[in-house]
């Protein structure tokens, strides 16, 4: 991994973070729906220095057949990091971490996706991380949700995700790589804005109950910002710029 600067100040006395952001500011986010011709739905996201491409296939036949469920469709998610996505080459074989992230993203999308409409089928979500810079799971979840909507899979709501955390005893929004490595806590949150429900919540670090509540509030607020961009990406693709 990239060399860590031991003298780096994560948060200065003016409340400015190591990359110049304020404590409640996200990185630059760009989402684009569509782009892959052969996938049923796709999305590309740039979340700060994260670059992630998502393709969705389905609903389609389940192979191997024994995985199919006669009551409902199934969701399969593969989160994969390219060997060139990080500083030092990453082995392309699925790592323990990638398997875990695939699982949490799948479970974060399941409450939103109405798979019961397609029994005996599968929806496959392929997430390729082209460039990673902390918070890929949130960015990947955000993009996966846009790609699913693009594929026309019925959904109760979009899922927007962003991480909040604690750095230099302050609760911050959208943890970047440096803050993740040297910070005190990191809390990825997946959130369905219209239904007001949280679908993903992980926490790495230690928070007091008060800090925990604040961290969730800050994260949810961030998710609402991300949601607006998801909305814009889909409306741009389907309704041109005149959408709404």
């Amino acid at each position: 991994m990239g060399g860590r600067d031991a003298t780096m100040v994560l948060l200065d006395e003016n409340g400015v973070r190591c990359d110049g952001r304020k404590i409640d500011e996200t990185r630059r986010i760009m989402i684009r729906a569509g782009g892959l011709k052969n996938a049923d739905g796709s999305a590309y996201i740039e979340f700060g220095d994260n670059k992630i491409l998502v393709g969705v296939f389905g609903p389609r036949d389940v192979h191997p057949k024994h995985m199919s469920n006669t009551d409902t469709g199934i969701l399969r998610v593969r989160y994969h990091m390219e060997p060139f996505s990080v500083g030092e080459r990453k082995n392309p074989a699925p790592s323990r971490r990638e398997i875990e992230i695939s699982k949490v993203i799948k479970e974060a999308l399941e409450p939103a996706v109405m798979l019961e409409k397609f029994p005996r089928t599968a929806v496959d979500v392929f997430i390729e991380v082209l460039q990673a810079d902390g918070g890929t799971r949130c960015a990947a979840l955000t993009a996966a949700s846009v790609a699913l909507a693009d594929a026309g899979i019925p959904m109760r709501d979009m899922v927007a995700a962003v991480a909040s955390g604690k750095v230099a005893d302050t609760i911050i929004l959208d943890v970047n790589n440096e803050e993740d490595q040297a910070g005190q806590a990191d809390m990825p949150i997946g959130y369905m804005p219209s239904l007001n429900k949280i679908t993903l919540l992980q926490l790495d670090g230690v928070l007091t109950p008060d800090e925990y509540k604040k961290c969730v509030d800050v994260g949810v607020k961030g998710c609402k910002i991300v949601y607006e961009l998801q909305k814009k990406a889909l409306k741009d693709k389907y309704f041109g710029n005149g959408g709404d």
């Binding site: 049923d40 739905g41 389905g58 609903p59 389609r60 036949d61 006669t70 939103a112 109405m114 409409k117 397609f118 029994p119 005996r120 089928t121 909507a149 693009d150 594929a151 026309g152 899979i153 019925p154 959904m155 109760r156 709501d157 979009m158 369905m192 804005p193 219209s194 239904l195 909305k231 889909l234 409306k235 389907y238 309704f239 041109g240 959408g243 709404d244």
Partner: protein, 228 residues
């Protein structure tokens, strides 16, 4: 009636609140009626629906579909109907009730790769859709070009009471068979008419959300008429 306002929606958007009946592509969540897909919402006197702009074809009983023969066993054919399920066409449907697996060979009637106009006879969650070709205008399609469009744009291609497709057929002298699954077969005696009809259909697919699409198509067809 004044509330029949069309709105662009994406999944999770609240279409309206109040005592409405949720119809296609919407769910009732407490008081709110929420869209489940990307599309255009329509509010009627007592119901709400969203016309989807994306997604795969989901079979519905009595839909006319265009299928492509995938394979067959000694008892039935399997049709690719551009859906997540395969169409199941039993041999009795073609050979009649006295069909015998010993004496009748399925390949004599329909071969792999043949196009078929079929109707969905039965479909439920538990089984693959059962299709039939024993009806007027159904059966093997011998000639014509296959055009694939998005299934969600089929209603747009047909138009109000078939206005759009009638216009294309009149202007090009082509015969167009539209499957609800987004597969369209165009046949025409002249190559020119065929190409023009295909172009018009592709244009509908690409510009389905445009408001004055009918005028644009008309213009495209007529301008071409003047040139020839």
């Amino acid at each position: 009636m004044m509330d029949n306002k069309r709105k662009y929606v994406i999944p999770g958007d609240v279409v309206t609140t109040g005592p409405f009946r949720p119809e296609q592509n919407v769910i009732l969540e407490g008081e709110k009626i929420i869209s489940t897909t990307i599309g255009i919402s329509e509010i009627y006197e007592d119901s709400v629906r969203v016309i989807t702009l994306t997604g795969k074809y989901i079979p519905k009983i009595d839909d006319l579909v265009i299928g492509k023969v995938n394979s067959h066993t000694s008892l039935s054919w399997e049709l690719d109907i551009n859906s997540c399920y395969v169409g199941f066409l039993p041999a009795q449907d073609v050979f009649g009730r006295d069909f015998s697996a010993h004496s009748d060979e399925l390949a004599t009637k329909l071969k792999t790769g043949d196009l078929v106009a079929a109707r969905i006879a039965n479909f439920d969650r538990t089984r693959d859709p059962l299709v039939t070709i024993s009806d007027r205008d159904l059966g093997k399609i011998d000639s014509g070009d296959l055009v694939k469009i998005s299934p969600s744009k089929v209603p747009r291609l047909i138009g109000k009471r078939g206005s759009m497709i009638q216009m294309i057929e009149m202007a090009t002298n082509a015969a167009v068979t539209i499957g609800q699954n987004g597969w369209v077969v165009v046949s025409c005696e002249t190559t020119e008419g065929l190409l023009k009809a295909k172009k018009a259909i592709e244009m509908v697919d690409q510009k389905a959300h445009v408001v004055n699409l009918t005028d644009q198509i008309k213009e495209m067809l007529e301008i071409k008429d003047d040139e020839t």
